[in-house]
């Protein structure tokens, strides 16, 4: 059995190995930063919008009064930086590197004689598990914060010289630290407890009986902490066991979290075993295994469909309409949220009345999705209403979305939009309330202060380029929202402001998506009464289709020859019933009207 060396002389790497380790560390840093700053930046915005971190004393004391609250506070504090993805990616990278570092230190503590390269590759295992865990967008940063606190305290505790402690002092130290860590982190205390038990069990100077009692009492004391808190916490015991605040869904058990915790605890033990039986090529083998694990598990962890939705949500939040169209050109939008945001983006860039059927459509729900008790869908629909000028409905959907956040958090994104809807509606006292709230944040403070000035300025909101025009778009008379008659509302919006291009396009496309050509004719009549020159491509195609269907000549003053030609080409393909001939026409209005797909 090799003798443990406190200074780890045996683990000193050669010069070339030192370069390899430095290179690997740098490569990981760059890779992690690139990962969060570029392809997965939307995931940062996604997490940031599900909280409203306030810098007030009461926000801190509310959280600090319950176990795990400090980890939640720090996690939320750090998550607010995700508002800026450059800083957010740095925060994410920093935390993950810190995690690798502490894992390395713990491995070094358990197995100081193990070669440095092996320690490094071993410390990558928990890191990879954390990286994969954060593919689940519902896992909050609070978990990583809690885990870091737990292993930091464990490391500091193991590093302090406990040999001189009496048995009673050792138990007292364990009890005090367990209570402290439980208050700081909640559920992640199990990592701390198992690490200190493991470290004690590793010692050869302590009797088995002592080890057994220490392990037993450590676990019992942890259980006692959980039980004591369960009397005062307004949560069922199961929530405490799952980990309050670690997930956006407080009642869901995330198995990967358990796996991460187990790996964090057991990798140091494995390091001890490896140090006792030196094996050749441990590190390269581990590296290969780790790479294979990443290749196999990454697609599952970072589910493409989920991240496509997150990307769209991010683009909607940023009002990046061209970005949405670009994404839809790259991958056909086929989910309700991607369809409706593509249509919004087309409308915002004045392309909806010509390009709607370039993309998959799922009926009028693709224009104005029905209410769903779910934040992303609510906020996306709220954004459609906001841009249309249905400010009340936008306020409602943002409010509902915020209230639907499963962990009961409030939302910076929703509060910001609700402050705007209140300003547009002229509810300045309400706007002030929301703006005062945002004044207590780091990233929205200046915006809030600017808008507080705006509402105090005479005609400030009226003359604001966005708020003023949206206020003018709002319907004036008492009017109830009716999900089945939204086309009538679109008509009202257009009549109120014929310059409302989005309402105009939605009004024209709405009956086409219903395959109701009579209604389309009526709505076109309403629009052309105000805008006689209005004759978009979809209107030309619809008129050509109606004429051909009714056996009438296609009106050449409305329909250009190219459109007529395209219809004739479609008609030939359709009547042939040859799927190969029809296929090129699948993304046309004609196909949509006839196919019932």
């Amino acid at each position: 059995m090799p003798k443990e060396k406190q200074n780890g002389d045996a683990s000193k790497p050669s010069l070339s190995l030192k370069y390899i380790l430095t290179f690997l560390s740098l490569a990981i840093t760059v890779l992690v930063y690139y990962f969060w700053a570029f392809p997965y930046r939307a995931a940062l915005s996604y997490r940031e919008q599900f909280q409203l971190f306030l810098t007030t004393g009461s926000y801190f004391t509310d959280l600090a009064s319950r176990p795990g609250g400090i980890a939640i506070y720090i996690g939320e504090f750090l998550t607010q930086f995700f508002n800026n993805f450059w800083i957010g990616a740095a925060v994410m990278t920093g935390l993950m590197l810190l995690f690798i570092w502490f894992c390395y230190l713990l491995i070094n503590k358990f197995a100081p004689v193990l070669p440095r390269f092996s320690k490094f590759t071993l410390s990558l295992i928990p890191f990879i598990s954390v990286w994969l865990l954060y593919g689940n967008p519902d896992v909050t940063l609070c978990f990583l914060t809690a885990l870091l606190i737990a292993i930091t305290v464990a490391y500091v505790s193991l590093s302090s010289n406990s040999d001189k402690l009496t048995v009673a002092e050792r138990y007292l130290k364990m009890a005090a630290l367990t209570t402290l860590v439980y208050w700081l982190t909640g559920h992640a205390t199990i990592v701390f407890t198992l690490l200190i038990i493991g470290y004690l069990c590793k010692s050869h100077n302590i009797s088995i009986v002592h080890k057994f009692f220490f392990a037993l009492l450590s676990l019992v004391w942890l259980a006692a902490n959980i039980c004591i808190w369960s009397y005062t916490l307004p949560y069922p015991l199961s929530y405490q066991l799952i980990g309050i605040g670690y997930l956006m869904t407080p009642d869901t058990l995330c198995v990967v979290i358990i796996v991460v915790e187990l790996l964090t605890v057991f990798i140091p033990y494995i390091a001890t075993l490896l140090s006792q039986r030196p094996l050749k090529a441990v590190a390269p083998t581990l590296l290969v295994i780790e790479l294979i694990a990443i290749v196999i598990l990454f697609p599952k962890a970072y589910d493409k469909t989920t991240y496509r939705l997150i990307d769209y949500d991010y683009l909607v939040r940023a009002n990046n309409w061209n970005g949405i169209i670009k994404a839809s050109d790259k991958h056909t939008p086929d989910l309700p949220l991607t369809v409706s945001t593509t249509n919004l983006a087309l409308g915002m860039t004045d392309q909806l009345d010509s390009r709607t059927f370039d993309y998959y459509q799922n009926g009028v729900e693709g224009l104005l999705p029905p209410f769903a008790k779910e934040p992303l869908s609510s906020w996306t629909t709220g954004e459609i209403f906001f841009q249309l000028g249905m400010i009340n409905s936008a306020q409602r959907f943002y409010f509902e979305g915020m209230e639907a956040i499963p962990n009961y958090n409030k939302s910076s994104r929703a509060i910001k939009r609700m402050a705007e809807t209140a300003m547009i509606r002229g509810e300045y006292a309400l706007a002030e309330k929301y703006l005062h709230l945002l004044e207590n944040t780091l990233f929205y403070k200046k915006w809030a202060q600017r808008n507080l000035e705006l509402i105090k300025t005479a005609n400030g909101v009226e003359s604001h380029p966005l708020y003023g025009s949206l206020r003018n778009r709002m319907v004036d008379e008492d009017y109830l929202f009716s999900e089945g008659e939204l086309d009538k509302t679109l008509g009202q919006l257009f009549l109120k402001d014929p310059g409302n291009n989005l309402a105009k396009q939605y009004l024209i496309v709405y009956p086409l998506l219903q395959r109701n050509l009579n209604k389309f004719g009526q709505y076109m009549g309403v629009v052309t009464e105000s805008l006689p020159q209005y004759n978009p491509l979809l209107a030309q195609q619809a008129v050509a289709f109606i004429s051909m269907k009714n056996g009438q000549p296609v009106p050449t003053n409305i329909v250009p020859p190219m459109v007529e030609q395209s219809l004739r080409s479609f008609a030939q393909a359709w009547t042939s019933k040859n799927p190969e001939l029809i296929a090129p026409h699948r993304r046309t209005l004609y196909y949509y009207l006839l196919s019932n797909e």
């Binding site: 009461s58 069922p236 009961y408 002030e432 709230l437 709002m474």
Partner: protein, 491 residues
């Protein structure tokens, strides 16, 4: 005791008293702008310190000296006026029936002091002896609610404790809490969702009831206890919500159908009558203080949602006989609101039988969603009724309830921002007029009310602190161990 042990306490005491004081200067003629507006309000001597903030962005530091007409004084200074609880209560107790004079000086960010004209708060000689208030904290939203919970707040301090939070019963939605004249051991709470039911304590222990029956139109919704503590009058409502598109309104809840029922908490039986279970809408019942009749609101059914602005409720009464467990045979109309194009809701008689407070709106049955909702009061001895203009605001004022000890009432008002309902208190004089209402005091009111994203829903006084057997409640809800009520029809 060794003297050095006292040093920390001496330092603390010095720090507490050592706030910066303004130089002497003559007061201006202008009173300070404070939040909440506590100027000239009437308070009970038992109320928590009426802390306030200076409503001026340029204010950096405030110094307040409070002097009692009948003697005593205290000071507070800092970022806001934060009074010491013990000193405050000593001062208010000494000045019952007299005025407290507040002399406010403010140092601005440039370091310049301003001394304002003093203002007063009147300490009422009517005591408010209840322990506190109970309310549901809920987002004043539309269809989705985040965390809701029933909370109790001490009136003499800032202590707020949960009675029941929805997180404690795994995400079930909680309806309002109804107690019998503020009794902590007689209350009902409806829990919605899987295994939902009505949690009830009639003083003899907890029960969990399913009040939805084939013979009634819905769950027991709006409740009011009979003074003897055995019966609860409920309306069973099927509520639908519609949303406005215009600038002024948000939401319009309405009843598809609603009937009156009385629950016998000893036999778990519902008592109904065809007179109050009609196609028309009967809702929000309240027993008279002698328990012999029920006040309720009644509207003719109209085609909804189109007819939402024609839905007008009258204030009616019907007898209820405890001995025969039967409703009376006649409905009397107390206020024909429909005739004046108005709608009545939430009748609440004072426990001494002198007054009846109710809401008047242009239409509908949900005053918290109507900015035009005002409180009205009827003198039950003369039948005269009037708007409580001294209390009402331009926003919704509703969910009123009387203090069991008499003299005080509370209500929910959206006057701060039009959206979030907050809790106000006022004192009623013998002639039926009310004092200027004051907002529920908080340690740091500006911070509290700015950060609060909930309404104080259905508030009521409670005589003492409610202690709920949480493990029992959890097990009842989790197991779905629920008792189905039976129905007795009275004719």
């Amino acid at each position: 005791m060794k003297s050095y042990l006292l040093y920390p306490f001496i330092c603390l005491a010095l720090a507490a008293c050592g706030g910066e004081k303004p130089p002497y200067m003559a007061p201006s003629t202008v009173q300070p702008k404070i939040f909440p507006d506590y100027i000239n309000v009437t308070i009970p001597a038992q109320i928590a310190p009426m802390n306030f903030n200076i409503d001026d962005k340029n204010a950096d530091y405030v110094y307040v000296k409070v002097t009692g007409d009948r003697g005593g004084e205290m000071e507070a200074s800092g970022e806001w006026a934060d009074f010491d609880e013990k000193q405050w209560h000593e001062l208010t107790a000494r000045n019952v029936g007299a005025d407290l004079i507040f002399d406010v000086s403010v140092k601005d960010k440039q370091g310049k002091w301003h001394r304002y004209a003093p203002f007063v708060m009147h300490v009422s000689d009517k005591p408010l002896t209840d322990y506190g208030v109970v309310y549901r904290k809920i987002a004043p939203g539309y269809q989705t609610f985040s965390k809701t919970g029933i909370y109790q707040r001490a009136l003499a301090s800032f202590e707020e404790t949960p009675v029941l939070e929805e997180t404690a019963i795994e995400g079930k939605c909680l309806n309002c809490h109804y107690s019998n004249r503020g009794r902590a051991d007689q209350f009902s709470i409806h829990i919605r969702g899987k295994n939902g039911g009505t949690l009830l304590n009639n003083g003899q222990g907890l029960a969990y009831l399913n009040t939805k029956t084939p013979e009634t139109c819905g769950n027991a919704t709006y409740g009011y206890w009979h003074p003897d503590g055995r019966y609860i009058a409920f309306s069973a409502n099927k509520i639908v919500q519609n949303f406005y598109l215009d600038k002024q309104h948000n939401i319009e809840p309405w009843d598809v159908v609603s009937d009156l029922i009385v629950l016998d908490t000893e036999t778990d039986r519902l008592i109904t009558s065809p007179l109050v279970a009609t196609p028309n809408c009967e809702t929000t019942p309240a027993f008279s203080p002698d328990g012999k009749k029920i006040y309720f609101c009644l509207a003719d059914s109209v085609a909804m949602p189109g007819g939402y602005d024609r839905l007008k409720y009258n204030l009616c009464t019907i007898d209820f006989d405890v001995d025969s467990e039967a409703f009376g045979s006649r409905i009397d109309t107390l206020i024909n609101a429909k005739a004046i194009e108005k709608s009545v809701s939430l009748p609440r008689p004072s426990y001494d039988g002198r007054f009846l407070m109710y809401n008047l709106t242009n239409h509908g049955t949900s005053p918290i969603h109507h900015a035009d909702a005002d409180l009205w009061i009827m003198d039950l001895s003369t039948g005269q009724t009037r708007s409580l203009i001294e209390v009402n605001s331009d926003f919704s004022d509703a969910y009123h309830n009387w203090s069991p000890g008499g003299g005080w009432f509370l209500f929910n008002s959206k006057r701060l921002d039009g959206m979030y309902g907050n809790l106000y208190f006022s004192c009623i004089r013998p002639d039926g007029t009310a004092t200027k209402p004051f907002l529920l005091p908080q340690r740091n009111p500006r911070e509290y009310y700015d950060e609060a994203l909930h309404s104080f829903n259905a508030p009521d006084f409670i005589a003492e602190k409610i202690i709920l057997d949480m493990p029992r409640v959890r097990s009842m809800v989790k197991s779905g161990d629920i008792v189905d009520v039976s129905v007795k029809k009275s004719y």
